[in-house]
Symmetry: D2
Subunit: 341 residues, 4 copies
């Protein structure tokens, strides 16, 4: 038996990545594809790389017959998403990839995103979608909030260390180097090839919005208020996020904590002590590579994590969560190897 | 029942692509991985993107126990490959990805490659590996010669037109724009990032070696001697070849010939009349996209074809042939959608 | 004595390239910078790479005091440009970088660009701005029409051959591989880094507008109607155009014709017979590199030309023309070497 | 009067950049170009982008007639360089771009570089080549040691802050994102386009050699032992280094210290408070852009610095030093604007 899913916001990059992954997933089929401005177009015209697939034409979200749909992925901007999700029928499970339901405290949401929450009644039931850390809650959830892609990258490295108490929670600095596709498909001057290629710069200054997710999850894991310094940088590559986490602690204890935490996780690979990951080695996949490298200064340690922002950072994570929510094997459709070169 | 395969030359890019594809192929398992200089290393150290897989350590080719191996992929330089293939046990089917067995006439091989054929006794049984055009011969072959990646790109566009007699065989010009990975993983100054990025130039001048494959296959299809003008250009992207074929004929007849020829082919997609393909829309996949665009000058037509040189141009093609040779469904393990962006 | 120049459309890439070049030109100073939507901003905010320069703030074109301005560069879209140029005072010499004045016959302009010419009274005096071929006319012109960047690339290779009668004018095929910056700085989905990088595709199909310039100039040079087949391809690099011109003739005669034609030209470099240029070797400069490579098929020859679309293809050409129009040494401010890597 | 200079190691990227810059320098001419493996070749064959220049053929260093040479740039690997520099005649001033003479204490050199110093008698007179901080010593030096490119990037941000005492010297973390050309032109698998493009990773782990320069210069500036945590990352771009320096102090005091220190420096641009630089805005130039951005956590500040590794990070710096050593205006030949896009 296959489950039928809908993708709302199918004309964006996370939408395309969902279709790509679901295309070879044995337990899912795509029942509806929604896009607002591009409603009426075929996937072949919006994403020619998917033209070999037999897929429904893009429609507006209010044109969908939800009766046969089991689960919806909402891949929309955060403001829009809250209202759209709120309007979905109760029988449809929802994975929202926007920032709309990530922050448990609506006041925190309003502070960081600058607008009022438009689906307050749903916030309480929303489960934070970091699969490896909320697996049981996700299995039973009706609404899962996908994480920020930068947030996920930092959390894979830091959460086990905060939980294990092997680093100083007051001394965490996260520098990231991030691919371009995280900015989405909207036409912006700053994201033109001529603007982005051949260079790098920090962005999201002075404080990037994903910091709010770190505050929430790190404080919970540490059992105390944790505030990190987080600075993302744009690199001229489409996919991939590398987090360089500067922490204080014992390198061996840190490495051991990661090894132990991820021993049974199919997608989280801890490299041997002293080795560091590269984003190109997880590209196009749902894997996370983690590395620990001590500095010559005693007690100073670099914890590196790398993932694909469109896959493990958003759409792969969403599919992993869908598997959990629908009672399918968690790794179904997600074991394809990274693509290199 | 799964078949056991070996990959000889597993530390190069076509070797890595074979492993990537076979990783999720339900009917194959990797029994041996060979590399000469890197023998003794693990795949995790040679290709960290494959480190999640449970794979044998790299060995020298003469260390392999061939008794359990059904089929070998040889992904070696052309001179080396002939001797290695000749030394394999008879029960092992072979797909050779080098130029070693592509040219039926050994004199032609010597003329274009400049060295004597080192496995003459095998040449007669070698089948040219363009799956869609030699399907029946491949099914029964013990030795299949994978095509050149540029050669494959040009042939998908031209062979049906020559067979159908809808273009002038004396007036074919093929310009290609090719990704960097086709040059392989050998350390060469000319392939450094600093040399290749941010520009383009023609290469393989005055006549690229793959021209010999065009001579052979185009002449056979047309039933007369055909010689094309072929000029490849290097682009700063890792994967992809775009062929712009300039031909003379009627655009509608040309488009119709392609549509008819590929109607039942799962990997060959003919775009609507007037549309052109992009390499990024077949990246990482075994698909070929073809397009026909008439020029304003009557009788002048552009025929475009695009594929991924590492996939459909070599390792995907090889796997498709392996499926045929082993009696497996032809598309097994090859239906993953292209990766974009 | 220095001449004062204005740049209209200073917030685009050709505007920025003009500023970059003029910054170290000893005979010019920038008297006014105009931009419509970005009026009121400083160059530091629009183009941070120029922030070290002491430059006027961007203003709207009607805010300029033209009394002290000797020459204006108009770097605007073609429709807009005609009206703006028509409104400039008579004492201001003008170099228009748009397509607005390139085509001598307004009916041809309307056919290719789809709108009526808005400055018909100026068309007759406009000189086509290919410096090496209209040098004397440019010296005496008030209005010079900069060429299309693709058009310039093709003409450097073909014009001397058509004039010398060493190629068949009915058998010219021009394939080009072009950098992204030629599309300008406007925010378009198709020009995002995620869309453009890691691949190539043909564009401007079925017939690119610059073809009209080839028709005009090639027919004039050949003394007969000439129509070429022209197909540009986008590559993932910011700067550079490579033209592969397929012609029929004698390779030695073709090479000799180029060598002779460009013997005294400071910016046109003809490579030794059999060598081909690369765009990265002219990047950031006003140089054109040309190469001739015979094919194995008798009488078939490839003529390659490479230039930087923003420099020799537009802003460098414009500055070279400004030197001519203002009585300055033609190479002033233009001899900086290409930047590689 | 022009000075004659020699470039030893002219076939590498820093050699090419020196030639590019000197090509339009009014006070210098190139008297000799040396390369070992490529001796006998012309610059046109080694660096086609410089083929328009009238330059001597490459020779071996012992073939040079030094009698007419005023100054030599040595752009060689560090071990080689010491011996070559030691063999130069006394009348030739020398700027060594290798690590051979950067570290004042030969024991420190041996510790970090693993081999014995081969020109110990010259070490005492060698001046560290960070122009803005050793200007007077450089003017009178016979031997100047060019800085590491990463080292220079970090020092422009940190040295003024350590001297002014506005940051805690025990709490400095430097993360860098670095272009590929810094790895040089040697053919290495790890620097192939296919390996480097489309991703990022940290390198030089656990401790990069340039850290030794930080130890030396930071400790001197602070008047106490300073050890930083330094982690460089490779990005898929040819030129540019961005340093994100994490420091503790008052953001306004930090910004003021930079503004004051660089007020009269022609190449050092401090951005307005809260703005951050991008490497692409200094590409191809001798400029450094610096920015200060406070974090939300009180007392935590990011200090960003960006430069072009081949220019201000090595060859531009070297030319600036040559100007000082030869009594020429310090900015001569170095005011060309950055190239964007």
């Amino acid at each position: 038996m296959t489950h039928s899913v809908a993708i709302i916001g199918a004309s964006g990059y996370t939408g395309a990545e969902l279709i790509r992954l679901i295309a070879t997933h044995p337990g899912l089929r795509i029942g509806a594809l929604c896009a607002d401005r591009k409603a009426g177009q075929t996937i072949a015209s919006v994403f020619p790389h998917l033209r070999h697939l037999d897929l429904p034409t893009l429609v507006k979200v209010d044109e969908v017959d939800w009766s046969g749909i089991d689960l919806a992925f909402a891949a929309l901007p955060h403001g829009t998403s809250q209202e759209v999700v709120a309007a979905l029928p109760d029988h449809v499970k929802v994975i929202d990839l926007s920032a709309g339901f990530r922050l448990r405290d609506p006041a925190v949401y309003e502070k960081w995103y600058g607008d009022a929450h438009r689906a307050l009644h749903l916030q309480d039931e929303a489960v934070y979608g970091l699969s490896e850390f909320y697996r049981d809650e996700i299995k039973n959830a009706r609404l899962v909030a996908g994480t920020g892609c930068n947030a996920a990258t930092g959390m894979f490295g830091m959460l086990p260390l905060l939980s294990a108490g092997v680093i100083d929670p007051d001394e965490i600095i996260l520098d990231m180097v991030c691919g371009v596709s995280g900015a989405g498909r909207a036409a912006k001057e700053a994201m033109l090839h001529s603007e982005v290629s051949e260079g790098t710069h920090p962005y999201g200054l002075p404080v990037h919005r994903h910091t709010s997710e770190f505050d929430q999850e790190f404080s919970k894991a540490a059992g105390q208020k944790v505030e990190v310094v987080f600075t993302p940088h744009l690199m001229p590559a489409n996919r991939g996020i590398l987090c360089t986490g500067h922490v204080r602690g014992d390198a061996d204890a840190i490495h051991a904590a990661l090894v132990e935490r991820y021993a049974d996780e199919p997608f989280c690979v801890v490299l041997p002590m002293g080795e560091a990951p590269a984003t190109r080695h997880v590209r196009g996949s749902n894997f996370v590579h983690l590395g620990v490298v001590a500095d010559r200064k005693p007690g100073r340690v670099r914890v590196f994590s790398a993932l694909d922002n469109l896959n493990k950072g958003s759409s792969g994570q969403a599919l992993q969560n869908a598997n959990l929510m629908l009672g399918l094997p968690e790794t179904e459709g997600l074991m394809m190897a990274p693509m290199f070169p």
